[in-house]
Symmetry: C2
């Protein structure tokens, strides 16, 4: 029997992938978790039936949620990831030797455990082997309340604004992030697809602008996410992602990247007209 998974990106459009094997299927107290093998994209993790990551294209999402922030802040030493239980963001953060401590705060311990077991190329730094990484299984909101003025950079590597991540898109949440950042701190959050989620984006950027003095959107192509065009919010207390970008540091980075580079850093902030207009102040 040939099995195909189809994710509906809207009521009338979707993405379909052949699935060769189910490696894990279970339910935590928060959500349904599945990890399957696909011939086209390698192993794929789904939460509540939606694609979270695949081995083949995860490098794009993870490089792009991490490096623009870490090459803009002049000296990021303490970095917090909220969500991101697969470990891919932590892996990219660890490529920056100046980072002394990275904390992963993921609400669902099952996601972490199964990523360590079945997605080792992503979870390589959250399996206890890296002394610079601290893993906390906790609600992000609770963790932020207990760690005010503590981080240089916070990355919100969340699922979509339904289910357990719903609270991570509200104004109160952004206020908590603001408070947990040091006085020159900055945050990056994934903010869905401009093509399918325009209304949600309008709302998110309005909320972010009510809290942060500087908010910019940037984009990346992620083939397994709805429409292929994905967006991130860069929200900052002091540093601007273009004007304060450490281009030479990015150019001379001592590690390889497959998507991010110092030119693309700039290009990612140059948005299509319909995207800019939708989130204009």
């Amino acid at each position: 029997m040939e099995l195909w998974y189809t994710e509906k990106h809207s009521e009338h459009a979707g993405f379909t992938l052949k699935v060769s094997k189910t490696l894990f299927s279970g339910e935590s107290e928060f959500q349904k978790l599945e990890i399957v093998e696909t011939p086209e994209y390698g192993r794929m993790m789904l939460l509540d039936d939606l694609v979270m990551v695949t081995e083949r294209d995860e490098f794009i999402y993870h490089e792009m949620i991490v490096h623009p922030a870490l090459f803009t802040h002049p000296d990021p030493k303490r970095v917090l990831v909220i969500g991101g239980g697969d470990g891919g963001s932590i892996r990219e953060i660890m490529k920056h030797p100046g980072v002394e401590q990275a904390v992963l705060c993921e609400i669902d311990g099952l996601v972490i455990d199964k990523s360590i077991e079945l997605l080792p190329s992503m979870a390589c730094d959250i399996n206890g082997s890296n002394p610079r990484v601290h893993v906390r299984v906790s609600d992000g909101l609770v963790y932020l309340r207990e760690h005010q003025n503590a981080f240089d950079v916070i990355l919100v590597d969340s699922t979509d604004p339904v289910g357990p991540a719903e609270g991570l898109f509200a104004k109160d949440f952004y206020r908590l992030v603001f408070g947990a950042l040091k006085e020159d701190g900055l945050m990056v959050a994934q903010t869905e697809s401009p093509f399918y989620h325009g209304e949600i984006q309008k709302h998110m950027y309005r909320n972010l602008r009510a809290v942060f003095p500087m908010v910019e959107m940037y984009q990346a192509f992620i083939p397994t996410y709805p429409s292929g065009l994905w967006s991130f919010a860069f929200a900052s207390k002091r540093y601007h992602p273009i004007r304060d970008f450490h281009r030479e540091k990015a150019q001379k980075r001592g590690f390889s990247t497959r998507y991010y580079n110092e030119d693309l850093h700039l290009g990612a902030f140059m948005l299509p007209t319909f995207v800019k207009e939708n989130i204009a102040e």
Copy 2:
């Protein structure tokens, strides 16, 4: 009965869309042509079962195949489109008041006729109403041979490199384009998806570089094309798409665009690392 169309982007992955109505289905001497109604993307044209254009996202492809070229050439007066029988590229060219004549050279008259009838928002300038537009139903190779040293800009708005467009990706074809351009002319061609068609791209860029002194790739996001990440080749005799870009002219364009703008023009040439490396010389 609910009908869904699925385009396989590879053997094991695809894009699926609900189809509410078939408006036309027929066969020309070159290919199978279908125009259907979809609830998500409006009307959609398929050639040999592959998505060519949809009403909802065609603006991206057509703005991006036209405006980077026409805002780089300092004075484009004569423009040729090879393929592009839906008329969308011609519509965008007509937004440039300096263009005195645009020629559409499409091999398949049925594509033109059915676009005029069923896709009027794209075919608005190829229905005989615009005196600046000349429509020729002809093989592009034959037309180019007969029109050497004639055009400022040539746009290759072709289908994929299988079927009737196969000849439009070979070195001999690029030589004919080179000859049909004036001494400072330039061409743009669609060059498939970096994500799914890396091998084809390697080959195309090698062929282009054997003919043109200056070849650059740029990208656009097109949700209904494989992976969402699409690419174009900018091949030129003299003008460079960044150094010779008329930014102020683009900024003060007297027409609206929904994707293209003067910043995005630059950003489109800033490529992901894996894309750049794949076509590196």
